[in-house]
């Protein structure tokens, strides 16, 4: 495990250096994303200045949700940036060269890229959590748990969507669309989702488990809310690992190449 983490850290370090290579472009992308996040936050500030509450969610709850979303997407983009184009990598047959190496298949796919924009998300997320989310130092352990579980859920969902490329060539853009929809669902108060939409938000597009359940866990801590968040994250991780394993078997059988 230590060897794996060391190799992964080395690969991520290389990916980050790659993203730094064009400094002007890097700075532009980071600044662009930071401004985008600021505008989005400002809209919610203006909204809550008028309405005060949406289904029981106040501005600080929304700030907590946005802070978690931005931080999760930021960490994902910096440390696992290859997830965005994983379906494309599979469809291009890039696994061939990786399969001839003894280890580092999934890590190489995830660490092949570090997204410059993700630094803007990460900076925005930490700022929002620190200044507007009304979380104290005593909440830090739960906050870290919420971020870890949300990160696991989001990344696992993205990997699962990318794995569709093992079965369908149309997954090239579809996988990205599903990941973006998950992100979209993660950017609004959980209380607005009802009925079938709520089922979708807590299953196919797991925004519910990525940020909404973690927000509830932070607002009303308890064994049950912790169990829900942790179990859901583990379930999505198992699903992603299973789908990748099955997909890889299909890839190696040659069925996905025909």
């Amino acid at each position: 495990m230590i060897a794996f983490l060391r190799l992964y850290a080395l690969q991520v370090g290389a990916a980050v250096r790659m993203s730094f290579a064009d400094r002007a472009n890097f700075a532009l992308q980071v600044a662009g994303m930071a401004i985008n996040n600021l505008v989005f936050l400002t809209l919610w500030v203006l909204f809550f200045a008028g309405f005060k509450s949406v289904g029981g969610w106040g501005f600080s709850d929304m700030a907590l949700l946005l802070g978690l979303t931005m931080t999760i997407v930021g960490i994902c983009g910096v440390a696992f940036g290859g997830y965005r184009d994983m379906a494309v990598s599979i469809l291009r047959g890039e696994l061939d060269a990786l399969l001839t190496q003894p280890k580092g298949l999934i890590s190489r796919l995830l660490a092949r890229e570090s997204l410059a924009t993700a630094w803007g998300d990460l900076a925005g997320g930490i700022t929002v959590l620190s200044l507007f989310a009304e979380v104290s130092l005593s909440d830090l352990p739960l906050l870290i748990l919420a971020l870890s579980a949300g990160l696991t859920g989001y990344l696992s969902a993205a990997i699962s969507f990318a794995c569709l490329a093992f079965w369908a060539s149309g997954a090239r853009s579809f996988a990205r669309d599903l990941t973006d929809f998950t992100l979209l669902f993660s950017s609004y108060p959980g209380s607005i989702y009802q009925g079938a939409v709520k089922v979708v938000a807590y299953s196919i597009l797991p925004a519910g488990f990525v940020v909404m359940a973690p927000v509830e866990m932070l607002r009303e801590p308890g064994l049950k809310s912790v169990a829900v968040v942790v179990t859901a994250a583990m379930a999505y991780a198992v699903l992603a690992a299973g789908l990748f394993h099955l997909g890889l078997r299909r890839y190696r059988s040659g069925a996905s190449l025909a």
Binding site: L7, R17, L99, P102, R252, G254, A258
Partner: protein, 326 residues
Amino acid sequence: MSAVITIANLRKQYSYAKRGRGLFGGFSPQHVSIEAVDGVSFQVERGERVAVIGPNGAGKSTTLKMLSGILEPTSGEASVLGLTPWRDRKALAYRIGVVFGQRSQLWGELPARDSFNQLRHIYDQDKAVFEKRLGEMVKRFALAELLDQPVHRMSLGQRMRCEITASLLHGPGLLFLDEPTIGLDVTAKAAIRDFIRDHARDHGQTVLLTSHDTRDIELVCDRVIVVNAGRVVVDQPTDQLRRRFLGRKIVTLLFNGAQIVLDLPGVTRRASDAHAVVLDVDTRLVRVEQVITAALAHGGVEDITIEDPPMEEVIHDIYASAVTTQ
């Protein structure tokens, strides 16, 4: 000698859904099967340099992918360095090197040195051994000036030198190369061929390469396996094959005046038009130099091109010969 690769009746079948005709054709697809590799059997001994050649779709890359553990066969058996490639993929990976001419194992934006260093960790290589091997490769492949250059800024030839270096840094006893000279210019091809041949000879390394280029075969390999439509058509030493099939050159002459008639043994006229004549030269009977001299003596020559015959033609000749022999 001992067998490094043994394959017996190896088959790989692909099937895919072919869209039906018309607007609703997508709802009634036909399932089509392709025999990419159809009962291939051969052995490769330690230290041999073997070329697997054939036209596009012959099954050579699929065979190589099965032998390196990437693909699982539909049926048949294979043993590579005593392992079954598709079952022991990870264990085998430590003992083989693989180079795909059209796919990179390097990190494009990073300097080559960083990619090599990452591969050291992937292959669990001791730092001192790794540095020694890298030093040798840098010297023999003239990589010193490339090491700190991002891979995506290199020419194709430079990149291929780095790809081959990357595949050899863990000291594999067996090297698979899939079209290693594809897209390279003449000088780069020559450097790659010299390196592969000399390195394999000096280290007793076994090489299995696929190629479209007859020169790769002549200059690197001592044995040729010709595959066509997924089957082995010919399996014989390169010298034997060279004498029979690789002794031809295609010479194209462009004129600014009247065309010439070259009456030389071993020279056959192929297609031609008002300003160009294409000659098929059998180098066993006449040297290319003699043909060029005769053409220049005639005068009016504007341009000369000398090429190897296309692989498809060579395969056709070999195939026709094999069928006749049978």
